[in-house]
């Protein structure tokens, strides 16, 4: 323990780099997941059975195969087919696909939860399907999505240490280096716990603010 603090001081720049990589993987993974969640969630409500079926299949595939295996497949198997991705890109892609599949269920559920009467009112005003979705259904569905998306975002953050297994120099990776060089296993991992907890709290607070704003906009509480 006597050596730990000076070692920690020396490792600080690398830890900061690691923290940045973790944040980067979380943000990029979540951004990709959000796009996929919308696309797959809306397609799985399509009126056309083949479209709906294809979307459901993709969702079930990425939910049903573990993130761990998806990541390893992208990192170890894909290069054998001639595609080599950066380790971080593999990580972001795996996180995006996996959490996008879960997120699509959130989108699908939230859209389904907007009362049918809202769509009927829009039809009675001559609004077409795309306009109804964009102007009437989605703005109300958003308010219902934020809370479940918050849970998924925290889970995504907590899944990022997996990336260290495919050589991504994230927070976990850097702390592991610190642990090997100092031998201070307990202190290193305690620090790691603290840092992830801090990140989770920051994300949580941000999402809470988003949720309040979305609800006010949807007219559920607050408003004029």
């Amino acid at each position: 323990m006597a050596d730990f603090l000076p070692e920690l001081g020396r490792a600080a720049p690398r830890l900061a780099d690691g923290l940045l990589v973790t944040v980067e993987a979380t943000v990029l993974g979540a951004a990709l997941a959000l796009v996929l969640a919308y696309a797959l969630g809306l397609l799985s409500r399509s009126a056309r059975p083949p479209v709906r079926g294809a979307a459901r299949l993709v969702v079930e595939f990425f939910r049903g195969t573990s993130l761990y295996v998806q990541l390893f497949w992208l990192f170890f198997a894909l290069p054998m087919l001639g595609f080599r991705l950066e380790p971080l890109a593999c990580g972001v892609l795996a996180l995006g696909l996996n959490f996008g599949a879960y997120g699509s269920e959130v989108v699908r559920g939230a859209v389904a939860a907007v009362p049918r009467a809202q769509t009927e009112a829009a039809i009675a005003l001559g609004m077409g399907p795309a306009l109804r979705l964009r102007r009437v259904v989605l703005p109300q569905a958003h308010a219902l999505m934020v809370a479940p998306f918050k849970n998924l975002l925290i889970q995504l953050l907590k899944a990022t240490p997996l990336l260290s297994l495919v050589t991504v120099p994230d927070l976990t990776f850097q702390i592991d280096q610190l642990r090997s060089s100092t031998g201070a296993t307990a202190a290193s991992y305690l620090l790691l716990l603290g840092l992830y907890f801090g990140l989770a709290v920051v994300l949580s607070l941000g999402m809470n603010a988003l949720e309040r704003a979305a609800k006010a906009r949807a007219g559920q509480e607050g408003g004029v």
Partner: protein, 259 residues
């Protein structure tokens, strides 16, 4: 009556849910500018008629015509054959018809003004300024000029329903459907909504199809009342005659129950 003078014509319209037949070959004609009220016991198919006309439900059989043209159907590949209307066919034609619902169904994420402005801007392509100006006029007409910036959820039921009426009128429909628009209101709020509708009926030449249990209102606005039972018109006639001297026993019983 020549078909072009008809706002609405139901031609042997059948509606079934599973093996439950709600309407069985219904024929119904409404002239342009006519005010028709549908009365009858709960479950007799009145709402179904309005929902079919608004294309919120599809007919099982038969054809609905609006303004002399097939509405529920469109010409198919084979000449002379009609096929069920596509979403695209309906998109352009639906705006002839407006509807006010029992539960108001205002958009909770928009202000009162935006509720009224939404469709004229995004469906009719009016400029926002023009649409907002007309929306303010309509909100004035329904007595809510001071509520333009409020959220619908902050309004009483009667106020919400008046916004819904303004919202429907903003699309300048030729035909307005009213489905028990005061049934969800506290009794003391019914009059303010009916007064607005009487006003609309007197100021415009809009065709009205209305389902209501408010017989005083029905007498004031309607040219004709249709009594429904079991998905059939069992009696029809001018409002005064039918309300004063119904010929059918079931009509008498029904009128007795709502008075």
């Amino acid at each position: 009556m020549p078909t072009e003078d008809l706002a609405v014509r139901f031609d042997r319209v059948t509606k079934r849910y599973g093996d439950h037949t709600v309407l069985d070959g219904l024929d119904l004609e409404v002239a342009r500018g006519e005010r028709v009220t549908l009365i009858g016991p709960s479950g007799s198919g009145k709402t179904t008629i309005l929902r079919l006309l608004m294309t919120l439900e599809r007919v099982t059989d038969g054809v609905i015509h609006v303004a002399g043209q097939p509405f529920s159907h469109m010409p198919g590949r084979t000449p002379g054959k009609l096929v069920p209307a596509s979403e695209r066919h309906l998109a352009g034609r639906r705006r002839r018809i407006g509807m006010v619902f029992q539960q108001f169904n205002l958009f909770p994420h928009m202000s009162v003004l935006d509720n009224v402005v939404e469709a004229p801007v995004h469906v009719l392509g009016e400029s926002r300024d023009e649409a907002a100006r007309r929306a303010r006029d309509l909100l004035e007409l329904v007595g809510l000029a001071d509520k333009v910036d409020a959220r619908p959820t902050r309004l009483s039921g009667g106020q919400q329903q008046r916004v819904a009426i303004a919202r429907a009128l903003a699309m300048r429909p030729e035909i307005l459907l009213l489905d028990e628009v005061t049934s969800a209101l506290d009794p003391e709020l019914v009059a303010e909504v009916l007064d607005v509708l009487r006003d609309v009926a007197h100021r415009t030449d809009i065709t009205l199809l209305c389902v209501t249990h408010e017989m005083g209102f029905a007498r004031d606005v309607s040219d004709r009342i249709l009594m429904f039972d079991g998905g059939r018109i069992i009696e029809s006639g001018p409002a005064d005659e039918l309300l004063e001297a119904p010929t059918e026993e079931r009509t008498r019983a029904f009128l007795g129950s709502v008075r």
